[in-house]
Amino acid sequence: MATVTAAPPAPDAPSVEVVGRPDQHRKRMARLGWMFTAPALLFIGAVTLFPIGFSVLLSFEHVNVLGSGFQLNGLTSSNYSLVLGNSTWHYALAFTLGYTVVTVIAELILGTMIALVLERLTSGRGWMMAMLLIPWSLITVISAELWGYIYDPTFGVADSIFGVLGLGHPTILGTNASAVIALCIADIWKTTPFVAIIVLAGLVMLPQEIYEAADVDGSSDWSTFWRITFPLLRPTIALAVLFRVLQAFGLFDLPFVLTQGGPGHATTSLAVLGYQAMFQNLAFGPGAAVATTTAVLVVIGCMAFLKVFKAQVGEEGS
């Protein structure tokens, strides 16, 4: 949603461009524009585009890391055959996809519920918004340590709660299934408020007249939501989902600190796997292959999404 749009210059507006030679002035302004843009683009190109290209190259190379640098020892496709045939990579891919789907859906449902409640607050909505920003601003490493403390098998509060409820003392981060669930809960806690804020901001912008009409027609809250609110919110929600999916797909900080990818490989995401390959096994070729395949999946997903929402985004970029 563009909050602002370019106002086309009125033809009769007193403009300097009309005075003198408009063509030359335009050209000069365009040149100035590229001069203004160049530093930012050079920066971005040097630190993102060039490394991305280099990463693709690395993924096809035998890479040797030396004491003070590195050596490339010839082209190979063995990195990819190593990665694509590896059962740990298969699991990491499935885990990352599953984790993304589950957490995004849970966050969307919870976040929408929170937003619907807060939208009806007559006072204190600003403060609630501010409160929702606290988990968003928290360093993920901190939230991972916090949940690690909560899940601790000997003195964690989750363990005490299980004890009080008579559910015994499960080692939460010790078994595959419970570790995955625990990780999802930590993520849902940190990111649901973010989704709630986006949905709430979308809700506030909806036209009130429609609701008054629905009220007059005696529509129930439930059908008002599904017939009016949800369809109107769909663009907001769709783009919040895109944002969250891309973020969840790069999952690293939380499992790296909370579970170190374990038990076994149960919480090893693609990013954790890539990191482990590169920095723990010093296998930069295969690590780059993991990173490149992840990036390709993200780009494909993003393109598919942009195709579906071409209307909105195309309008935006013009």
Partner: protein, 279 residues
């Protein structure tokens, strides 16, 4: 029915107040748990007590004296402040050009920026690490300042461009008739109008730099150049996790940024919604 009048006890106990209370509990209880645990002593930290019985600031002393936490804060501040300043300068210039100057090929530039802003950081870790190793940049401030600036620029440029688009063209042209050059017009006419954009881009960049973990962990592993997230993640040894110290450090790191975000909450919310829209 929306906002119907309620009477009697239903004014206080209804779906909205219950939902709001549950939301507060959901968000605040873990935060309370972190802060209260930071004051627990060695005995209190090993029991799941809601109120610390042996409250002291012992953990804060430990974090700053036994560990290098003061240094980590300093490193984080240096990296985040310089990166944010660079992002604001570069994105203002680029946003002004892309929003207001008659250039060809703006659309491809904006689309490429959009694509870059969604790229997972893991994709550039290997090449950046090897390149930095080659030129001796590992364990330095520039090892983080450069990537942080580059990764935060696309979003900041989008934000600045959108604010620049919204400024009435006449204002700038009045200035130009008065003899102000384009740079002067940007500084004294356009920039004051785009101030909300600067706040949004600034808070977002600062928060992103403050919380970033993967690159900081990969490029600056040496103790003297660790930032806060890396420092906190490496507090524990293989056998024990000093939770008291960790939460003291965490609280010290989280409070300033929380205050910053609360002060600029309007900018943050407008940035979040723009971010969700832009990807």
């Amino acid at each position: 029915m929306r906002n119907r009048r309620r009477s009697g006890w239903r004014r206080y106990v209804n779906g909205i107040t219950i939902g709001t209370t549950l939301t507060c509990v959901f968000v605040l209880v873990p935060v309370y748990w972190m802060i209260s645990s930071s004051f627990k002593g060695p005995a209190g930290i090993t029991t799941a007590s809601f109120i610390p019985k042996d409250a002291s600031t012992f953990n804060y002393h430990t974090a700053f004296s036994n560990y290098n936490f003061g240094r980590y804060i300093f490193n984080s501040v240096v990296v985040a402040v310089i990166s944010t300043a660079l992002v604001l300068i570069l994105s203002t210039m680029a946003g002004y050009a892309l929003g207001r100057l008659p250039m060809r090929g703006k659309l491809p530039v904006m689309v490429v920026l959009l694509m870059i802003s969604v790229f997972p950081a893991i994709a550039v870790i290997a090449p950046l690490f090897l390149l930095m190793k080659q030129i001796g940049w590992l364990n330095s401030y520039q090892a983080l300042i450069f990537p942080y600036t580059a990764f935060n620029l696309p979003f900041a440029i989008w934000i600045m461009r959108n604010y620049m688009l919204g400024i009435p063209r006449e204002m700038e042209e009045t200035g130009r008739i008065d003899g102000a050059g384009p740079l002067r017009a940007l500084w004294s006419i356009v920039l004051p109008q785009a101030r909300p954009g600067l706040f949004t881009a600034g808070v977002f960049t600062f928060t992103a730099c403050w919380t970033e973990f993967l690159m900081a962990l990969s490029f600056n592993s040496e103790d003297n150049f660790r930032t806060i997230p890396v420092g906190i993640a490496t507090f524990g040894s293989q056998f024990t996790t000093p939770y008291g110290t960790i939460f003291a450090a965490s609280t010290a790191a989280a409070v300033p940024i929380a205050i910053l975000v609360l002060i600029f909450r309007r900018s943050v919310v407008s940035g979040l919604t723009a971010g969700a829209v832009k990807g």
